[in-house]
């Protein structure tokens, strides 16, 4: 099980791993919420790689994943995405406080990016001011991407790796968030309690967190965790 946003590196990792171990791996992609629901409903799952630690934590609490298998893998860096041409002339986090700037963030309770965005804004001391500019709290990350790409909002706080593709295609522009405010998250991996192929799962987890695996992650715009 993997977050859908990780599909590109995961596919490459999968192919390499399959080659070297001559086994077949099924990876199911979905939003973090959906794959989490899948695990909750008892879908057979060996390895869970959601988009944020929150899910592995929750899963741990419910006893769905094995305690000592939760490993931090790569970094998730929030950025500000703005529509092509940057109509609202956003240059940094502080510009979000300007009146009439339409901002979208994730629902602070739902996707990990929502909570992070709120924390960033609070750390920047502008939560209250930006709040009035927020036109939507999106429950899914995809929405943030869509709204920004379709100019429905002037700025959205979103994961950096998510927009590398779109940036390449010239649909979006990325405005980095100032270091002093930014909160960087990590993507975890964990092995499920109900895993049917526990040994293979451990091997897979070892592989994707190995230096060899990290090269692939980097290729697709993720930064390895500095452990």
């Amino acid at each position: 099980f993997s977050g859908a946003g990780l599909i590109k590196p995961m596919e490459e990792l999968k192919i390499n791993f399959e080659k070297s171990h001559s086994i077949v791996i099924d990876i199911h992609y979905g939003s973090s919420g959906e794959i989490f629901a899948g695990v909750a409903a008892g879908q057979p799952c060996d390895v869970l790689i959601p988009g944020a630690e929150k899910y592995t934590d929750d899963a741990l609490k419910n006893g769905w994943v094995l305690e000592n298998t939760v490993t931090k893998m790569v970094l998730h860096i929030p950025v500000i995405a703005v529509p092509k041409g940057n109509p609202a002339k956003i240059k940094g986090l502080m510009d979000l406080t300007r009146p009439n700037v339409r901002v979208a963030i994730g629902d602070p309770k739902a996707p990990a990016i929502g909570r992070v965005a709120k924390q960033i804004l609070i750390r920047g001391g502008i939560w209250e001011k930006v709040k009035s500019n927020i036109s939507v709290y999106a429950p899914t990350v995809n929405q943030l991407l869509i709204y920004a790409a379709l100019s429905q909002v002037d700025a959205a706080i979103i994961w950096g790796d998510l927009v590398t593709w779109a940036e390449g295609k010239g649909k979006l522009e990325i405005i980095p968030i100032e270091k002093e405010y930014n909160i960087i998250k990590t993507i975890p991996t964990a092995i499920c309690t109900g895993a049917l192929h526990k040994n293979t799962a451990i091997q897979f987890n070892e592989y994707i967190t190995s230096p060899e695996g990290m090269k692939i992650w980097e290729k697709w715009g993720f930064e390895p965790c500095a452990e």
Binding site: G33, A37, P139, I146, L150, Q152
Partner: protein, 237 residues
């Protein structure tokens, strides 16, 4: 069977507690209001359009029918995107705004999303229903002095009863259950544009499975009651 299995997992205390939470009450109320409004709007549009498609011949009718049917084939996400592009586009947005209407990220957006999700179904069903009504009965009414519109009201509509019930059941169910379209167009913000399927999704994302299941159960009960009433109405009418 598939339905019953949903009831197995949650603990009952949890459900009882969640069902009276403010969030649930809000989302239930909003779901009902938007669902009913959309269903009514859908029927208001589907009846005349379905009738016209059934009775009149015109150039390019096959094309028109196909285009009307197509949104059924769209994943909710796509339909939501289409609507967003449509209502979010500067031209239409300005026109609507001058009329004081804004669909993007608002409750009106929920209704719009539900409306466009259910409309194609209702039109298609009404068209095929009117195909089965003998036009001579309509002619008799006209030869007795009733205009085309009065005839539609007095003859075609009552005779289409079974098809109307089918349309309404499907429209209402579709309206109350649609998630993706509403999510994209209306945003799906907590306690703002939150309808039952969104409550469900939000709570799954929060990891609050109890609340998620509760909203699933509430949704089921609401749709069960509504559909049961419709289906009974068919028999008694």
């Amino acid at each position: 069977m598939a339905i019953a299995s949903l009831f197995v997992v949650p603990s009952w205390d949890d459900v009882r507690h969640n069902i009276w939470s403010e969030e649930m009450r809000f989302s239930l109320k909003l779901s009902l209001i938007t669902g009913i409004t959309s269903t009514i709007l859908v029927m208001l549009f589907a009846l005349p359009i379905g009738y016209a498609l059934s009775r009149f011949r015109f150039w390019g009718k096959g094309l028109v029918k196909t285009v009307i049917d197509m949104p059924i084939a769209f994943p909710e996400l796509v339909l939501g995107l289409c609507l967003l592009l449509l209502f979010g586009s500067t031209i239409l947005r300005d026109i609507l705004a001058s009329a004081g209407i804004n669909f993007v990220f608002t409750k009106k957006g929920i209704v719009a999303a539900q409306f466009f999700t259910a409309l194609p179904y209702a039109i298609r069903i009404m068209k095929s229903t009117f195909d089965y009504i003998n036009p001579r009965l309509e002619f008799v009414s006209r030869s007795l002095g009733y205009s085309m519109f009065e005839t539609f009201k007095n003859i075609s509509l009552p005779l289409a009863k079974n098809g109307i019930v089918a349309s309404m059941v499907i429209s209402f169910a579709r309206c109350i259950g649609t998630f993706g379209t509403v999510l994209i167009l209306a945003g799906g913000s907590y306690m703002k544009t939150e309808i039952l399927p969104i409550t469900l999704y939000l709570n799954i994302s929060y990891g609050n499975m109890g609340m998620a299941l509760t909203s699933g159960i509430v949704l089921m009960i609401v749709s069960f009651l509504a559909i049961f009433v419709f289906e009974k109405a068919e028999v008694s009418l």
